[in-house]
């Protein structure tokens, strides 16, 4: 039951009931007061005017007028009487002078004995006015009518309000029940998802209300989490897979070392094993790096950076290496080419491209780097004079661990291009293979937004 009152729908219903009651009562009250006031003011004016009019009439005229009034004009004047100077009634339907000032003004008298009745009393307004001959004329008007009107208003209020309250309560309760039933279903679904039923989703109705909207949002969140889980598992599988072969090699080498008859061979085996372990470690680092770029929290170091400056810097970094291999390196920049990005990440991507180009270019070849804007889009191109990439292999080079047939003898993790592509993607750039001209051409170009 307590749970029932905690439901927000019930709270809203109760608030609704209270507000409706107050508003309705206020309207009824206002109407009542306005009408009663108008009625009473009118009655007072009539009484005062009649009293003033009658001052100059003779006693006999008054007697005739009173009789006529009291028999024919009951609607306007209920009480009329003339008292002599000693306050004794001369004629009329009041026995005693009302306890009000004799000033020709209307006064309210709460309980007046109804003429000809058995002690029945009612509220009334009276005017008492002294006449030139010393007599006092009293006119009065019953307020019973307006009190009866009040009772009608009260009855109407009660008759209207009670069913309305019940209706509001019933509607509130209904919505609360319905909402809590749906929430129970959702809670059940969440509990099952938490227990591992990760394919389950929250029920979404056709009502398009808040609960449906939230359910839909939670569902898309679950989809995204599921997608990340699958990707994460993929990364894990990759790491496991790629570590198995070096581990097997190391195992074999160490075993061979143990079986060897002399220390020289043992040392040689251990040394080889170490080389393989180093390679495995490089791979792990590269894989973690790739996972970090692809699925990690987005870098918050995005700012305006100059692609030309980055390429110039990396050109200077790599040029000695190229020179040592008798490779000519050229750089063509159209400074500056500003993009929004993470300088460290961009450096890493470009470094991978230049490093690759030098790696796959034979002696006396050329590696050309150019940065420009084409059709308004930033474009980085790295061109080498190596053997290029066979048409059949062009789709595969961006896959993880893929090494071209001819590239197998060149050391590397096989992840460089994947990392560069992931970084490009993060910057809303595309990394694409631009054909053989004559060696491989790699282009990193900003996406049109």
């Amino acid at each position: 039951m307590l749970e029932f009152f905690r439901s927000s729908a019930v709270r809203v219903a109760l608030a609704f009931v209270i507000v409706t009651t107050v508003a309705t009562t206020a309207v009824f009250g206002l109407v009542y007061f306005e009408i009663r006031e108008a009625n009473e003011v009118r009655n007072r004016l009539i009484l005062e005017a009649e009293a003033a009019k009658s001052v100059d009439r003779s006693v006999d005229e008054l007697r005739t007028a009173f009789e006529a009034r009291l028999t024919h004009d009951l609607r306007r004047i209920d009480y009329a009487a003339l008292f002599d100077s000693s306050h004794k009634v001369m004629f009329g339907n009041i026995d005693k002078l009302p306890a009000i000032a004799v000033d020709g003004k209307a006064h309210y008298v709460a309980a007046t004995l109804v003429p000809g009745s058995d002690n029945r009393r009612e509220p009334a307004i009276f005017v008492a006015r002294a006449r030139p001959d010393g007599t006092i004329m009293v006119l009065g008007r019953s307020l019973l009518e307006s009190f009866a009107f009040r009772r009608i208003v009260q009855a109407a209020l009660a008759a209207g309000l009670a069913p309305m309250l019940l209706l509001a309560l019933a509607i509130g309760a209904y919505f609360a029940r319905r909402a809590s039933r749906r929430l129970t279903v959702i809670q059940g679904a969440i509990a099952r998802i938490m227990k591992g039923d990760t394919q389950l989703r929250l029920p979404v109705g056709s009502r398009h209300d808040t609960i449906d909207k939230i359910s839909r949002d939670v569902n898309s969140m679950l989809d995204e989490i599921g997608r990340l889980l699958v990707q994460l598992k993929g990364v894990g599988d990759n790491i496991a897979h790629d570590l198995r072969s070096p581990l097997a090699v190391v195992h074999a080498q160490l075993e061979r070392g143990l079986e060897s008859p002399n220390d020289v061979q043992l040392r040689e085996s251990v040394k080889q094993a170490l080389t393989h372990i180093d390679k495995a470690m490089l791979t792990v680092t590269a894989l973690l790096r790739l996972a970090d770029v692809e699925y990690g929290p987005k870098s918050n170091n995005f700012r305006s950076i100059d692609l030309s400056a980055i390429c110039t810097e990396l050109f200077e970094f790599y040029e000695p290496l190229a020179t040592s291999k008798s490779i000519k390196m050229t750089l063509e920049t159209q400074s500056p080419v500003r993009i929004v990005g993470d300088g460290d990440l961009m450096r890493e991507a470009v470094s991978n491209l230049i490093g690759n180009a030098i790696k796959f270019t034979p002696e006396n070849g050329t590696v050309s780097i150019s940065v420009s804007r084409e059709d308004g889009l930033p474009l980085l191109r790295v061109r080498d004079t190596g053997i290029g990439i066979e048409p059949g292999e062009r789709d595969k080079i961006f896959q993880r661990f893929y090494r071209t047939e001819s590239g197998h003898r060149v050391p590397g993790s096989g992840l460089g291009l994947s990392i560069a592509a992931a970084i490009a993607n993060l910057h809303e750039f595309d990394l694409r293979f631009g054909g053989n001209d004559p060696g491989a051409v790699f282009e990193m170009v900003g996406r049109r937004k």
């Binding site: 180093d278 590269a286 973690l288 870098s299 918050n300 000695p320 290496l321 460290d344 890493e348 991978n352």
Partner: protein, 232 residues
């Protein structure tokens, strides 16, 4: 400096919750003549406060607790002990966080032991760093203000990057310097790349600073990196 205090100051405080890795680090550093004391974050902080640690090696996350919080607090108190942060969190953002919190160096797991030892050595050296304007080893002298290098009476012209490379070696004479350290410190490249590029830069530098007929000032350390021959 008395012998006891010198021993005291040699202690390396190690905060690492992976027992096997901690043991490996300890064994490796002890083999190189260091005194290693494994500690919890709180113990390490106390040791640092009383000046009982020459260098601190701190894992980023120790038993679920972020050690950077303590490190930051220590730095606020004015504790100056050199700190090497080791972590599996590899992104540049995380590195920047580690260095901002007061780490002097940041090494990501997995790492080679040679790398760790070299960095600890470099950090220990940092304490002795005084504001010098001239660096010297043998007859090679570098003027940091004039930006000149002399070998004996011969002026050696170095490119700006070569100058910084040479300066880094001169600031760490007789210490093993890995390729990764050079990439990070001289080029500010915090990502893995084919390190043979560094070798080419070193060999170019050697050509400029070495004199014919004498052994090179910068020697190769197999499996680790390079070292500036301090006794040259």
């Amino acid at each position: 400096m008395t012998k006891t205090s010198s021993n005291r100051i040699q202690t390396i405080v190690l905060v690492e919750d992976e027992t096997e890795l901690a043991n490996e680090i300890k064994a490796e550093l002890e083999a190189k003549g260091h005194l290693v004391r494994p500690a919890s974050i709180a113990e390490a902080a106390d040791a640092a406060r009383v000046g009982d640690a020459a260098v601190m090696i701190m894992d980023r996350i120790v038993f679920g607790e972020d050690s950077l919080v303590t490190l930051e607090a220590l730095r606020k108190e004015g504790v100056k002990v050199p700190v090497l942060v080791i972590s599996a969190l590899a992104s540049v953002d995380e590195k920047v966080k580690g260095l901002r919190a007061g780490g002097d160096d940041y090494l990501t797991k997995p790492f080679a032991m040679e790398e760790l030892v070299a960095r600890v050595d470099a950090l220990q050296r940092r304490l002795d760093d005084v504001r010098t304007t001239k660096l010297r080893v043998g007859d090679l002298e570098m003027d940091l203000i004039e930006k000149t290098v002399y070998r004996g009476d011969t002026r050696i012209e170095l490119l700006p990057r070569e100058f910084r490379l040479m300066e880094y070696f001169l600031r760490h004479p007789g210490r093993v310097i890995t390729r990764a350290m050079l990439l990070e410190e001289v080029w500010q490249y915090h990502f893995a790349l084919e390190t043979n590029v560094v070798d080419v830069h070193i060999s170019n530098l050697r050509k400029k600073i070495d004199t014919k007929g004498t052994p090179s000032l910068i020697v190769n350390i197999r499996g680790a990196g390079f070292m500036l021959n301090a006794n040259a």
